[in-house]
């Protein structure tokens, strides 16, 4: 059967975000501009980064995303995330390795509501006619400098965003325990462009990404999307295969 990840998140629970409960309210984030770059990485560099419950994507790849949220319940903010391509059972997922938000408030809320492993820092989203750029720095050090080169219009239906999985501590069955949380945003596309990914600076350690080395670019997109960050619906045992260890917390959204 397929390979499994080797990361045991129960061995270092203090490093995980902690949720007060699993009753996170949904957020509506209208007209966000989302730069997303997909890049293949050597399989050996992803060893140990994926929880035991999940399957690695073959070939290994990461998703770098820099997003400008002009409106949110905590005001405007920019967000950069790094996800590792993977599978939760039969479903494609991006396991969240690291994230940076441009405001302390956004970082605190995203960490506490959805278990995103996030810090505050400087996140810039810049659009030019020949490229869309994202830069991230923390403590005066640039940890990501990337771009989508030569963006060309495509249909929103051509773009597929996969759902996220985070690792966090949260109360369940009367005790706070480490678990995997499915975050499945709903997107409504207004505009989509596609181009070539370019990464000038990527500090893997700053993204909790071990020794990941970026290798072969796949594709880059930049989309204008309404994003609904949903209520938490599914959590997963971090050590059991997902098809055995998934629990539904609440019913699916009414629009599904």
């Amino acid at each position: 059967m397929p390979l499994y990840g080797t990361l045991d998140i129960t061995q270092n629970t203090k490093a995980l975000p902690t949720l007060a409960n699993l009753d996170t309210e949904a957020w509506t984030l209208p007209k966000a501009e989302m730069l997303q770059l997909l890049i293949e990485v050597p399989r050996r560099t992803t060893d140990g980064l994926l929880p035991k419950a999940m399957h690695p994507a073959l070939p290994s790849y990461v998703i770098l995303a820099v997003t400008k949220y002009s409106e949110s319940p905590v005001g405007p903010f920019n967000l950069a995330v790094l996800r590792l391509g993977s599978r939760a059972g039969a479903h494609p997922r991006g396991f969240l390795l690291g994230a940076v938000a441009s405001t302390e408030t956004a970082a605190k809320e995203l960490r506490g509501r959805w278990g995103i492993p996030i810090e505050a820092g400087e996140v810039k989203f810049l659009r030019r006619h020949d490229r869309v750029m994202g830069t991230v720095s923390r403590g005066g050090k640039t940890i990501l400098d990337c771009a989508l080169i030569d963006p060309q219009p495509v249909a929103g239906t051509d773009v597929q965003y996969i759902n996220w999985v985070t690792a966090a501590n949260a109360p369940l069955d009367g005790q706070t325990q480490p678990m995997l949380i499915q975050v499945d945003p709903k997107y409504t596309f207004y505009k989509a462009e596609r181009g070539k990914p370019q990464v000038n600076v990527f500090d893997a350690a700053a993204w909790n990404a071990g020794a990941i080395a970026l290798a072969d670019p796949i594709v880059g997109t930049c989309c204008t999307v309404d994003t609904d960050l949903p209520r938490i619906r599914f959590v997963m045992d971090p050590l059991k295969p997902v098809f055995q260890g998934t629990r539904r917390i609440r019913e699916s959204r009414s629009d599904e």
Binding site: G85, A90, V154, D158, I218, V219
Partner: protein, 372 residues
């Protein structure tokens, strides 16, 4: 109704040399038996880099081996990837003609364009252009087989005038097919006069719509070859057992294992945004079915597992929808022991095939009909 075998050649880890050899030998043993039992086809995929799911990257070699140990069963590429980074069209024409000669005119040539990023990215092929390159290839192949000399200047490849050798044994040429997974490909097949080689496990309603549209469109097609190959094949799992419960349980295990492996593949659409890959192909249906290797839920309707009576009901339903041929996957990751695969084939041939024998015998080969 015709019946065939369909091979992905799925091999579980760890991949020891003996295990790969054993699985290949098991497949050959099944094909030899199927030939003796009267099955019509054996198809083999072309896949690359798809760990455990398919180790069938050189189907022309496997199919040649099949042809060498059998007498009547027809051998089919299901499919040859018609993307220049994978296969040069001259080599496709040469290899297929050679296989047709070696098999004594038993070759079918399925065509397609690959659906996974794992493969397209591995060959550094551009997903945007695979439909167009496939279209060029399928229009060139019949001419390369039939014309004494051939030259070509296209968007994806070109060649000066040469004689492509050898020529196929079948005249005018082997029957041509296209893999149909994405919605709309059945129209591509019909418009070009190609057989529809269904590789999905969609339910009755969806297949009925596809087949109906295919039959309607092919009436006014402009065939890329010398004849119209109006045939609809579909894929299924086979496990036939005297006891219905045992048959269903093993069939579900086979189906769940195959589906779970298939859903691990990185579909092109999942990572590469392209108008050429708007659909996920067969994956959504598989994901719905593949809740895990231990799942025991109702699977897609029409599966050919259980006792002979249950399988006959399923096949009759497919027949009523207009399916001409069902190709069976017999195993995945070796979850069905070889002796049980062989027993299942024998029981199917004894109890199920005779029920459907008359129609198949009357139809004959499209290539032979065209030649006559």
């Amino acid at each position: 109704m015709k019946f065939g075998l369909f091979y992905e050649i799925s091999i579980p880890r760890p991949w020891t040399p003996e295990k790969e050899r054993t699985v290949y030998n098991n497949c050959l043993e099944q094909v030899k038996l199927a030939d003796e039992l009267g099955f019509d086809h054996v198809w083999a995929v072309e896949h690359h880099f798809l760990e455990e799911y398919s180790h069938c990257s050189a189907p022309e070699l496997f199919l040649t081996a099949c042809a060498m140990i059998t007498k009547n069963i027809q051998v089919g590429h299901g499919i040859v990837v018609c993307v220049p980074e994978f296969n040069h069209p001259i080599k496709i024409a040469e290899r297929t003609a050679t296989l047709d000669i070696l098999s004594g005119g038993r070759l079918h040539v399925g065509t397609g364009r690959s659906a996974t990023w794992t493969e397209l990215g591995g060959f550094r092929a551009n997903p945007d252009s695979t439909k167009k390159s496939w279209d060029e290839f399928v229009r060139c192949l019949p001419k390369m087989w039939m014309q004494e000399t051939f030259s070509y200047q296209g968007e994806f490849w070109s060649m000066p005038e040469r004689t492509i050798l050898p020529k196929p044994y079948q005249k005018p040429h082997p029957p041509m097919w296209v893999a149909v997974t994405s919605p709309g490909t059945e129209i591509d097949a019909a418009d070009r006069g190609l057989g529809s080689l269904g590789l999905s496990f969609a339910g009755f309603d969806e297949q009925e719509k596809k087949i109906s549209e295919y039959r309607r469109r092919i009436k006014s097609c402009e065939p890329v070859g010398a004849f119209v190959n109006e045939q609809v094949a579909t894929t299924n799992f086979l496990f036939c057992h005297e006891d219905e419960k045992t048959g269903v349980e093993m069939g579900k295990k086979l189906g769940n294992t195959f589906n779970y492996l298939a859903t691990q593949l990185i579909s092109t659409r999942e990572v590469f945004s392209s108008p050429s890959y708007q659909s996920l192909g067969l994956l959504p249906a598989l994901r719905r079915a593949a809740t895990g290797p231990d799942a025991n839920e109702q699977q897609t309707e029409g599966m050919a597992y259980g006792d002979p009576a249950r399988i006959i009901r399923a096949v009759k339903k497919w027949e009523s929808l207009g399916v001409d041929c069902i190709n069976f996957i017999l195993d995945a990751n070796e979850v069905v022991p070889q002796d049980q695969v062989m027993a299942s084939l024998k029981l199917f041939a004894k109890e199920v095939m005779p029920v459907f024998a008359q129609g198949a015998a009357a139809k004959g080969s499209p290539a032979k009909v065209a030649a006559e």
